[in-house]
Symmetry: C2
Subunit: 415 residues, 2 copies
């Protein structure tokens, strides 16, 4: 059972937006046992959409289309679907009721004819109600194949997929079982890992594949299994994981499907009833943002200081001016004082402090571009490391965030 | 002149990573006058890659391929390209020298045969040196068409594109002129805008298209023009923009190509020599992260407090316990005290404070899920607003960030 995803919109092709819908759809389809054969992004152009639909129909059993359903003139997906299915638009009262409800509840401008026209839908489709927006989802069936057209706005699309599309697909088909296990490692490059586990890799059964996903100091090892026999998949996956872990014990931090490194850290803190504080300079609040995007962060995260300006390091955190002028603002000494101060200020058990020069210019700092110091204060110790993360601002920041989490987790697990 | 982008990797199709490379490539190709006809993402599978290459060759003149060039067994792009071009792999000393240099400089593990094998490249390709990684870029020419294969690691790919691929394409072809102008608006829905500017839209010349890009409280209006005559494109675009702006004056904040809202804000601050501080609760550091991802933020951004826990609002910012127990932690009163405290603590001219319940649970807070308060302290005034941003955690946080920037810019422009 194969699916194809078609995302429609000039904004994707000109790079104005990043297509995040496809990744979400790929993940959700995989969970119910559907492989995605191909993702195709095309312009808001009738002949291109028709061509993509035709090719998708020949490749896949399930075709999911997003985008081009807005109320404005550049949105042509609905008309194009009518042409593809030799259909016509008819008024749907349920859709109009939903549009009117949304306007009365959440939208301050008056409802217009443009909005009311969104209640016109192809006569052959089944309407999927969009709880969060005015464009309905549409479900078509043609010669044993299913086509689903969804709005491009991510949170509207996601709700429709989870609440409506996936349950309907499960009712319509019987799917094989797909299982991914991704092992998160920090501290060793992909080819070094590959060398080390070569025998393991060569002896994997046919229905399990291994992939390496390297990214700025971390490498994810993904095992993917697919088979109609769920028990076989689960047992063999478990066996292979148990074979693999001892070979990478020193670099393995956890599984990604259930856990990112920040949720592994959060879980550790919650179990130990311990807390964390931050003092972020060159990472600018990104560590904090990643921690707080998960619900429940308030159980262990006390807060942080984004001390971007040197004076805020002095005035808010109380870093000594003498330390800064002697060692420079990017130094182990300053990182240490920042971590200790954050721990004290927030009365936390642990603290992370980051100071560095993310570039692109050397500026008036003593530190080279890419030079950073990260300090971890724990209940018992203070660990400080210096790195050079290169000359790419975004990369320096992201590597700093990854390295901070890696260093913190290592210290937590020691205690 | 059309391009097609092919991104290769199982991790894209199963949704483990979001394909950000395509958006970057789309944007850069557009800048030199190349339209992207289609983006196709396929698995690490020989027959699928071959099929995608064949289709791309029939659609487009320039085919850019990313991914599948790593040193490990799951990376098969290079072998597949050999098959497609009826070619064979040969040793390239320049590539090996680069790999050895990278290892000696940046990588602590010893170089292995797996890494050395990356110096095998198809004999018919021109090698593009990868300054940041071990996989080289490859440039093929076949019957007036260009195929470029690039590593999937974003920063390696980006450097190759900017330093090597785009200059070579410019030398090889003569391109038409493409110009996008995106007007950033805040505060009115897409259909209300569409109603208002209907006459303008109907009278646009053939070679200029208008698109609406709505996203959580902001709508971007993109005008796209393409023509061989650069002067015509530039003059007509300017004329249309001058026609459009007066019709949306109350909601227009700036142009996106050059400026996101945070860079517009940064520019205003720098011109006025004024400064900003933050006190972020439910936005968790995201406002700070967005400000600091731009170089030069230190010229106006003093820093911020991520006061996620209630006690940190009291202890670090000095919000009064009485205010919290009387009005609740999500209240206009608390937001006001936070903004005033941040402004004072960091000695800034302006401060933003955010407090809210992003959900998914009501918890022990008085506030409903989605309820938030945002306060802006200015040199002269204090503005506080309450919103309900719905029941989706990620959406509540992102709407909060957008609304904070919108409110701040409005106040700056008043002063």
């Amino acid at each position: 059972m194969q699916a194809e995803i078609i995302t429609i919109g000039d904004e994707i092709l000109i790079g104005q937006i990043i297509d995040t819908n496809s990744a979400f759809l790929g993940k959700q389809l995989n969970k119910i046992g559907v492989s995605v054969y191909q993702i195709t992004s095309v312009q808001d152009n009738k002949s291109q959409i028709l061509k993509a639909l035709k090719e998708a129909e020949s490749n896949a059993d399930i075709i999911i289309i997003t985008g081009g359903l807005g109320p404005t003139k550049d949105d042509i997906t609905k008309h194009t679907l009518c042409e593809y299915f030799e259909d016509e638009l008819i008024h749907n009262q349920k859709v109009l009721d939903n549009i009117e409800m949304l306007f009365s509840k959440y939208i301050s401008t008056p409802i217009s004819d443009i909005n009311r026209h969104q209640a016109l839908v192809p006569s052959k489709c089944k309407v999927l109600t969009n709880k969060y927006g005015t464009a309905p989802g549409m479900w078509f069936e043609k010669a044993e194949k299913v086509f689903v057209s969804l709005p491009g706005v991510p949170y509207e699309m996601k709700a429709l997929v989870n609440d409506d599309v996936l349950p309907r697909l499960r009712e319509t088909y019987k799917f094989p079982f797909i299982l991914h296990k991704t092992l998160l490692t920090y501290g060793l490059g992909e080819s070094a890992i590959s060398n080390r586990i070569e025998v393991f890799e060569d002896n994997l059964p046919d229905f399990i594949k291994l992939a390496y996903l390297p990214n700025l100091g971390k490498v994810r090892l993904r095992l993917s299994a697919k088979n109609m026999d769920r028990t076989l998949v689960e047992q063999e996956m478990e066996r292979q994981v148990q074979l693999l872990i001892p070979q990478i014990e020193d670099i393995f931090v956890g599984f990604e499907e259930t856990e990112s490194i920040e949720t592994i850290i959060g879980k550790q803190f919650k179990e130990r009833s311990q807390t964390l504080a931050l003092a972020e300079s060159f990472t600018g609040g990104k560590i904090s943002e990643i921690i707080t995007k998960h619900a429940g962060a308030s159980q262990f995260y006390k807060g942080g200081i984004n001390c971007y300006a040197t004076e805020s390091k002095i005035e808010i955190l109380g870093v000594s001016e003498a330390t800064i002028s002697k060692f420079g603002v990017v130094s182990k000494e300053v990182a240490a004082e920042m971590a200790i101060a954050a721990k004290k200020l927030f009365k936390s058990d642990y603290a992370i402090a980051t100071t560095g020069n993310a570039g692109p210019e050397k500026g008036d700092e003593k530190a080279d571009v890419g030079e950073v110091c990260i300090a971890i204060a724990t209940p018992k110790a203070l660990i400080i490391e210096t790195f050079n993360f290169g000359n790419h601002r975004e990369k320096v920041i992201d590597k700093g965030v990854n390295k901070s989490f890696e260093m913190l987790l290592k210290e937590i697990l020691k205690n």
